[in-house]
């Protein structure tokens, strides 16, 4: 609940944060080619830098229990239902703002190098700035509708950017898949939103403002709240790639790597977690939904990690890794540890972006190669990339004192010790941590260690990326270590993070019930399984070994193939859903529409015609027939009047 001491202040500066990238995007749309590539790229980066500066300034200005607000105008009014285009910044939004604009800025810089030689570079920066605009709308919106605009908008930009190299048909198909699957989630979201509005309206309160909603949430019955939250969560499932709507994220790797880094790792996919955190007051009242969220999160985390074990494309491993880490965030949400979920979102943004940009650097160096089978030994050729990649890998694997260590351990500890958590949840999360360590180090070893397996002509051209690309890597790697120090457990130096977010989540941060010893023991357990993963990966991939092949052919190779083909989920969906759907559509288009609907219309016309063909026979041309008709009518009238008498 909102602490009673929260103060609200109006700050006009807020609207410029999304507005500047939007303007830059528009300028680049219309004048980009005239400005030239260097200038338009520079403009795009400068715009995000401006937003980041404003975000920093706002962050610095924001008092601990304060909320900043900026109402731009009233969007529409319908009776007592008013929706304004209005922004708000509280502690939670401030964090998100820094992540979006900060990491966004770094990725913009990186893109100057990565996309700089591409023909569609200007278009890229237009879309990227547009994305920043929509994402800022999402996190800064002070009501659910503005959030939804941002929600839809980032989906659009995701589609545009995945299919950036549209000449290749597979890319456009991937973009379609992303958009359509997202849309399915959005449908649930919309239903939830509408249900919320109408149910509150039934109680006489017409609003979608977060602060108003929080005040009046008690007017709703628990059943309704459960339904609403379930529907809203469906939207999060789509946007944040949880089971069963995760299938678009691996395919989204068809987009350029900066896109994967920004949209599909650091920001857009985390919108689901943000949304649940923003509406925590609603979700807290629906324990059923929360349990479901936790279970789905855990299942997704484990499931995606198992698939990541076998993938050979460098970006695919990272994609499934993202899905898995998002699962962790939802475990945290499901047990009510919202600030921990956002903490993991925060640290994940750093190390995942670093990993993706690093992989981009590798791909760039190898002239477009993405198959890890054709990599290896790149440590010597790409030192900066290697070291940043190593740091980020350590972070994601949970090596001590990296950011990932703190955030992941916090989640696991909360899962174990909170009243809403359970040992089962902890167990799944713990196993997944081990798997995570294994597949990430597998990737590290395959790509950077051992012999270089690339073709000769590729080998000849391997070069370290330019500074414009390596500098962001370094910054992100630093973040991967130090960003997590904000959320250290009590037995170390305590968490500034939870303190910071306390006004937003209020009394939700129940102290985890458990002793400090338990906490330390669990941390040690996690470290142990992480180390086990590392060791295993080292023996399988760090040295020349037959272990991978032996594992792959285990039990006849069945399990390996199952994992390699991601449990055949796509094929299942295609069979169960896509095919019947397209069949129905085709039937409707080719049979139902022309024959039934057109047939109906034609039948009406034919009927009218047939009718008239019959009736025109009355006009025989014989006057005496007509007169006979007169007589008949007269007789009828006579009968009527006689009756009246």
């Amino acid at each position: 609940m909102v602490a009673p001491t929260q103060t609200v202040a109006t700050v006009d500066l807020l609207r410029w944060m999304p507005l500047i990238p939007l303007l830059a995007s528009l300028i680049n749309v219309f004048f980009g080619t005239r400005l030239g590539r260097k200038a338009s790229g520079g403009l795009a980066c400068a715009a995000v830098l401006a937003s980041f500066s404003i975000a920093l300034y706002i962050f610095w200005l924001l008092p601990a229990t304060g909320i900043f607000r900026d109402t731009v105008y009233t969007w529409f009014e319908s009776g007592s239902f008013q929706v304004k285009l209005s922004f708000q910044v509280d502690a939670l939004t401030a964090v998100m703002l820094l992540v979006v604009t900060g990491i966004g800025f770094l990725i913009h810089i990186y893109s100057l190098g990565y996309i700089g030689h591409d023909e569609g570079m200007i278009r890229f920066f237009v879309y990227l700035n547009l994305f920043i605009f929509f994402m800022l709308l999402l996190v800064m919106g002070d009501n659910l509708l503005v959030l939804f605009i941002g929600w839809e908008g980032v989906g659009l930009c995701s589609y545009l950017l995945i299919g950036f190299w549209y000449q290749d048909h597979t890319n456009t198909i991937a973009g379609n898949k992303a958009f359509i699957v997202n849309r399915i989630g959005d449908f649930g979201f919309m239903l939830g939103l509408l249900l919320l509005v109408t149910e509150l309206g039934r109680q006489g309160v017409w609003t979608l403002d977060f602060m108003e909603l929080q005040k009046h949430v008690n007017l709703l019955s628990p059943d309704k709240i459960t339904l609403i939250t379930l529907l809203l969560f469906v939207g999060a499932i789509g946007k944040s790639a949880q089971i069963p709507l995760f299938v678009w994220l691996p395919d989204a790797m068809a987009g350029p790597t900066p896109v994967s880094a920004l949209i599909h790792a650091a920001t857009m996919v985390t919108a689901g977690a943000y949304m649940t955190a923003r509406l925590h007051f609603l979700f807290v009242l629906a324990p059923g939904t929360l349990s479901l969220i936790a279970v789905i999160g855990a299942a997704t985390a484990f499931f995606a990690a198992t698939v990541a074990l076998t993938q050979n494309d460098i970006k695919r491993v990272l994609a499934y890794s993202t899905v898995s880490q998002l699962g962790y965030m939802f475990i945290a949400v499901g047990i009510g540890a919202f600030s921990t979920a956002i903490f993991h979102l925060f640290t994940h943004a750093f190390f995942k972006a670093c990993l993706f940009l690093g992989s981009g650097s590798v791909i760039h160096a190898l002239g477009g190669e993405q198959d890890m089978g054709k990599m290896g030994g790149l440590r010597a050729y790409l030192p900066t990339t290697y070291w940043t990649y190593l740091i980020a890998t350590l972070a994601i694997a949970g090596a001590p004192f990296t950011s990932g260590f703190f955030s992941k351990d916090s989640i696991l500890w909360q899962a174990y010790s909170r009243p809403h958590g359970s040992t089962e949840l902890w167990f799944v999360g713990w196993l997944t941590a081990g798997l995570t360590a294994f597949y990430m180090f597998r990737q590290l070893f395959l790509v950077f260690h051992g012999q270089c397996r690339a073709d000769d002509h590729v080998k000849a051209h391997i070069h370290e990326s330019p500074a414009v690309m390596t500098l962001p890597l370094v910054v992100l790697a630093a973040g991967s270590i130090f960003a997590g120090w904000l959320g250290a457990p009590e037995y170390l130096w305590g968490s500034r993070w939870d303190q910071w977010l306390q006004p937003t989540f209020g009394g939700l941060h129940e102290a985890a019930h458990g002793s400090e010893t338990d906490e330390i023991n669990l941390t040690l357990l996690t470290l142990a399984i992480g180390a086990l993963g590392f060791v295993f990966a080292y023996f399988a991939y760090g040295r020349a070994s037959k272990l991978p092949d032996r594992l792959a052919s285990l039990a006849g190779g069945g399990p390996y193939r199952l994992l390699l083909h991601k449990y055949y989920v796509d094929e299942l969906y295609d069979f169960l859903i896509v095919r019947p759907f397209t069949y129905c559509s085709r039937w409707l288009a080719q049979v139902f529409d022309p024959e039934v609907i057109d047939g109906l219309v034609n039948a009406v016309a034919k009927g009218a015609r047939g009718f008239s063909l019959i009736w025109r026979e009355i006009q025989t041309g014989n006057v005496q027939h007509y007169l006979a008709g007169f007589l008949a009518a007269t007789l009828a009238l006579l009968a009527y009047f006689l009756n009246q008498q």
């Binding site: 007589l631 007269t634 007789l635 006579l638 009968a639 006689l642």
Partner: protein, 164 residues
């Protein structure tokens, strides 16, 4: 039953008979002659009903001018073709007319009509009274009627002339 009543019933019998002759006789000239008789009998009825002026007009205009015109045209055209007759058509027509007559009779004979006429003034039905009505209350229809007759004359001349 006074004389006028007896006269009425006798005339009505003959009137009906001659009307039937108009409709049922085969020869057109016979039909025309029967019609003349009918018109004349109706003129008598008019006079009995204290409408001497209209009665005289009936004889002069209807039985005189119009019927002469009819006969003129009959002689002029001299149609020789025999008229085909179809039994079912006749039966149906007679039936319909019977129903019509019955319906109208039922409608009229509801006992609401005054049984006795209003006491008649001396002038009732006289040319003076008729003329007075025509030239005061009904002067406009009167003038239009004359225009109508003019138009009819012109129309008839145009319609019936031989193509040059």
């Amino acid at each position: 039953m006074d004389t006028s009543a007896i006269l009425f019933y006798v005339i009505s019998v003959f009137l009906v008979l001659s009307s039937l002759m108009v409709v049922f006789l085969r020869n057109v000239v016979h039909c025309a002659l029967a019609l003349v008789v009918a018109l004349f009998l109706i003129a008598v009825l008019f006079v009995m009903l204290h409408a001497p002026m209209v009665g005289v007009l009936q004889v002069l205009v209807y039985a005189g001018a119009i019927m002469v015109l009819f006969l003129f045209v009959i002689m002029f055209l001299n149609p020789t073709a025999a008229e085909p007759r179809r039994k079912p058509w006749w039966i149906l027509g007679s039936l319909g007319a019977l129903l019509l007559a019955g319906g109208l009779a039922a409608l009229f004979a509801n006992g609401e009509a005054p049984a006795d006429p209003v006491a008649a003034t001396e002038m009732f039905g006289s040319p003076e009274l008729l003329g007075k009505s025509l030239f005061t209350d009904f002067v406009l229809p009167f003038e239009i009627a004359s225009v109508l007759l003019l138009v009819a004359i012109i129309g008839a001349v145009v319609l019936a002339r031989r193509e040059p």
